[in-house]
């Protein structure tokens, strides 16, 4: 089980040359081998969505993907959302609408929402709630997450 393969993960535009076992999950590789701990692990069985990242622009549960499957593909994580000091509209909207409490689920929600809105900027409010219902948050009761994503959606459409 300890045979390792050399792969390159491209995270937020930067290449990370790492060596991983074939069973290593993408979530673990992003966190441990690449040191990007903003992506969180809440269940490791694909239900909570805390580990959501974008692979080829698609929201993916990185606990359900092996690191090797993502080799060479563009991966985006929460660390890549802001432009230097300037937060992404989604991050700002979460702050202004109190869309986070403990913040553990937040990176997953941010990446899910950004991934969906980039592809479907005109998604209806109703469908948006459906999308957001695929991730779990235990603190907020979702109300402010929904509010924040709707606010960011308007801003993202305008820009």
């Amino acid at each position: 089980m300890t045979d390792k393969t050399d792969i390159t993960l491209n995270i937020n535009g930067r290449d990370h040359a790492i060596s991983v076992e074939s069973r290593r999950t993408l979530a673990d590789a992003i966190r441990e081998e690449c040191g990007q701990t903003g992506t969180h692990i809440g269940c490791e069985h694909g239900v909570c969505g805390a580990c959501t990242v974008l692979v080829n622009g698609e929201p993916v549960r990185s606990c359900l993907m092996f690191a090797q499957q993502a080799a060479g593909k563009p991966i985006r994580t929460v660390e890549g959302l802001a432009n230097g000091d300037e937060m992404h509209p989604m991050q700002r909207a979460f702050m202004e609408n109190h869309g986070l409490q403990c913040g553990f689920c937040t990176p997953g929600f941010l990446m899910l929402a950004v991934g969906v809105l980039e592809k479907e900027p005109d998604i209806t409010d109703e469908d948006l709630v459906d999308v957001l219902s695929s991730n779990l948050c235990r603190c907020t009761g979702y109300q402010n997450i929904i509010k924040a994503v709707r606010a960011a959606a308007i801003e993202m459409r305008q820009s």
Binding site: F94, L100, C102, F104, N135, C139
Partner: protein
């Protein structure tokens, strides 16, 4: 005329905490790493009850990269984990050791641990530990026969008794008696971050450190020190970001002690991160109780007496909370009503399930469900509507404060302030109750199954006995507030900074708030029982006021002006009679008082102040919930159409955060009312071990929640009038939803247990045909 300063307290300020969390720069337990660290994996019992025949560690130890493996014999010198609250002498023999000795008492009971270079490897190695267990019969129901815990000890270690007045006489003289049997399912906090701990021993200085602490770092520091036979000053606990607490996270568990012990023995940092399956079987469960309650009433439906007997399902061992949950259930059951005579008898029962502890609104989610079901039953018995029956029984404002001959958590219950009737009116107005009733009636006539329910409750908050705060201004003019509080994600830094900014007269952004670091402050009680805003908040105000005086006295000396002619505005010392004239920055004052500074003379060096706030009584916020539900005739599905919470918190420091607490609390309450339950098969095998079988509400299930934050009844126990806001969103959800479902079914008293499932609704509808 003094300069008007805009106040931050009372405003919905954006949180201090958010920046790093939004940028992926949080430091949660799993994010903490040290060079050369080992990874721990726990081998857990797969039997709910049994004698340990043998534990063979050798096959695990034979794997390269595995550095140690322990069973009970290796940790036999470590005492069991002690009680933090509500200690009862007779419970001591039921405490949990850090590894099971010769018997396992639930699936998940730690039997052995392995330490390896890599977490995947540790997990592989754990599979190679061979544990032989001789299975014993299980006890899965707290209200059945008692059995043997071990060594002749009964599975009923204690009975909680509370009450006052002559119950038998009250029932003998009653106009009528109403009796109910009700139960609440087993569910729990289940934060999104699982538990985690990293132990590190620094041999040079003989210091032991644990990262990943939460909730009660100081208490845990003292306990770990005691269990490992070290002076408390040689152990430090560090709280990073915490991914939700809800009562379960941060209590002292076997794994916390194991990583510390291993770090010392193995001479390398040791990291343990719980996986989700482990979390479901190892971290505290809560709530499961069965109540048999009756009320004696007069002709008008006024309560003459309440008599309750209940069975509390504690699971495998008594953990840190000891008798806290059943004690709170018994003490808080009377709620906002006049209860002239009262008796509660609570049986603590050990079963072969995961041990229990507190979960948001502990004992109150349970007893509010029971009491409010009782009020609804009284209404049905009397033929008066549920709102009216509550009005008749609510304690009136003129009766405040009300001392109940009950105590809990070492305090006497004194309802400090409240206008319960007014809050009920606010809640009803919030949903236009009369119009709503008319609409529901119409819809029912059209064949829909819709109904509304109301539930009321009293919460508790601000548990003492003390909290300390130290505020320092450095020579750059930056303010640091060091508290003994802890943060589990609720916004502690923001609230404390708001209070400090107002009192001291400095900008919100120049304040840094420290919590959960045992090396920064000698003592601290942490974050539980909705205590932080009240206790730490008031301690902060006191320290800030002292520091303000010190700043002004020093400035007076430097500026050659009387201190009472000066004010601090936005971090500048200015003359309070006009905006003109000389001013001075806090940095200059701090520099003047820096150790060795010329100006210092006889003055105490450094610009700081300390204060403690002590309180022997809790403060009692109160609330009302209103739920509107629709049931699907064919599937039994339960849809919450509307939900409103009115909650009086005395004074809201940051209404946005209070609302966030309430809405988040409601979502958890809905989970316990409709979806979440830890179930077991008849051998005690847990059936809810993934998020696919333990169903937490998603954005689909949680309705929009309307919140009315009320400030009618400031607490007289602290100058700002604060009461805690953490648990009122959760408290009455089970009760309100049950009442609404009854109403939709047109069948008072139909709901007798939580969670309510669509299958139960279907069964009730079928029986009605």
């Amino acid at each position: 005329m003094s300069v008007a300063r805009p106040k931050l307290v009372g405003q919905s300020i954006v949180r201090k905490e958010d920046g790093p969390l939004l940028r992926g720069q949080g430091r949660f337990a799993a994010d903490v790493n040290f060079p050369n660290q080992l990874h721990m994996r726990v081998v857990r019992s797969t039997y709910a009850h049994g004698n340990i025949v043998s534990v063979d560690l050798a096959p695990a130890l034979a794997i390269p990269g595995v550095h140690a493996a322990w069973a009970f014999a290796d940790v036999a010198d470590i005492p069991p984990i002690d009680f933090r609250l509500t200690k009862l002498e007779q419970l001591a023999a039921y405490r949990q050791t850090i590894l099971a000795k010769d018997r396992v008492r639930y699936v998940g009971d730690p039997v052995a641990v392995v330490f390896a270079d890599d977490p995947y490897l540790a997990e592989d190695a754990a599979e190679h530990v061979v544990v032989e267990i001789e299975e014993l019969p299980v006890i899965l129901h707290a209200d059945g026969e008692t059995g043997e815990f071990r060594d002749g000890l009964s599975t009923e270690p204690a009975i909680i008794r509370k009450g006052y007045g002559d119950v038998d006489a009250a029932f003998a003289n009653a106009h009528a008696t109403v009796s109910l049997s009700l139960s609440i399912g087993r569910h729990s906090g289940v934060p999104m971050e699982t538990r985690g701990a990293v132990g590190r021993y620094i041999a040079d200085t003989d210091m032991l450190e644990m990262y990943g602490a939460a909730k009660v770092p100081h208490w845990n520091r003292d306990q770990i020190a005691k269990m490992l036979g070290r002076p408390p000053a040689s152990v430090n606990l560090f709280e990073g970001h915490v991914g939700g607490g809800f009562g379960v996270r941060g209590e002292l568990y076997p794994e916390d002690v194991l990583v510390c012990l291993a770090a010392m023995r193995l001479g390398r940092p040791v990291k343990w991160i719980e996986d989700r399956r482990e979390h479901f079987i190892a971290t505290n469960h809560s709530r499961q109780q069965t109540h048999h309650i009756r009320a004696a009433i007069d002709r008008d439906g006024c309560i003459l007496a309440i008599d309750d007997e209940f069975f509390h399902d504690q699971g495998g061992y008594m953990r840190t909370h000891a008798a806290t949950v059943p004690d709170l259930a018994a003490a808080m059951l009377p709620g906002p009503y006049r209860v002239p005579v009262y008796r509660a008898v609570g049986h603590i029962r050990l079963t072969n399930k995961t041990p229990g502890g507190t979960y948001r609104a502990p004992g109150r989610y349970e007893s509010t469900f029971v009491r409010e079901r009782l009020l609804d039953a009284i209404a049905a018995e009397t033929g008066v509507d549920g709102v009216e029956i509550r009005r008749r029984n609510l304690i009136d404002k003129s009766e405040m404060p009300v001392t109940r001959a009950l105590e809990t958590l070492g305090t006497d219950i004194v309802l400090d302030s409240g206008d319960y009737v007014r809050l009920l009116d606010k809640a009803l107005d919030g949903v236009s109750w009369t119009a709503l009733q008319a609409q529901l009636k119409q819809r029912r006539q059209a064949g829909e199954l819709v109904g509304a329910g109301v539930a009321m409750f009293v919460e508790k908050s601000g548990l003492g006995p003390f909290d300390d705060v130290r505020i320092t201004i450095n020579t750059k003019g930056l303010v640091e507030v060091v508290t003994g509080a802890a943060s589990v994600g609720q916004g502690v830094e923001t609230v404390i900074a708001q209070i400090c900014a107002d009192t001291l007269g400095v900008g919100y952004d120049s304040i840094n708030v420290i919590h959960g670091q045992t090396d920064r402050i000698g003592r601290g009680l942490g974050a539980f029982a909705s205590r932080v805003t009240v206790m730490t908040g008031e301690a902060t105000r006191l320290a800030a006021a002292k520091l303000r005086d010190k700043v002004l006295a020093t400035a007076a000396g430097l500026m050659q002006l009387p201190a009472d002619s000066l004010d601090i505005v936005n971090g500048e010392i200015v003359r309070s009679d006009s905006s003109a004239g000389p001013s001075m920055g806090l940095a200059e004052i701090a520099t003047a008082l820096a150790p060795g500074a010329k100006f210092l003379g006889e003055r105490e060096p450094s610009l700081f102040a300390e204060a403690s706030f002590e309180s022997r009584h809790m403060t009692y916020p109160y609330g009302a919930h209103v739920a509107v539900v629709r049931l699907a005739r064919d599937t039994g599905a339960i849809d919450i159409e509307r939900y409103l919470v009115a909650y009086d918190v005395g004074k809201a420091v940051n209404p946005m955060l209070v609302e966030g607490q309430i809405v988040g609390g409601v979502a958890q309450g809905i989970g316990g009312a409709l979806y979440e339950e830890f179930t077991y098969d008849d051998r005690g095998e847990p059936l809810s071990v993934t998020f696919a079988d333990y169903l937490m509400p998603t954005a689909r299930e949680v309705p929009h929640v309307d919140v009315i934050i009320s400030e009618d009844a400031p607490s007289p126990l602290n100058p700002m009038g604060l009461k805690g806001a953490g648990e009122g969103g959760t408290n009455a959800v089970g009760a309100a939803i049950a009442a609404a479902i009854d109403d939709a079914l047109g069948q008072p008293g139909a709901i007798t247990q939580l969670p309510v499932s669509p299958q139960m609704i279907k069964a009730i509808l079928k029986n009605n045909l």
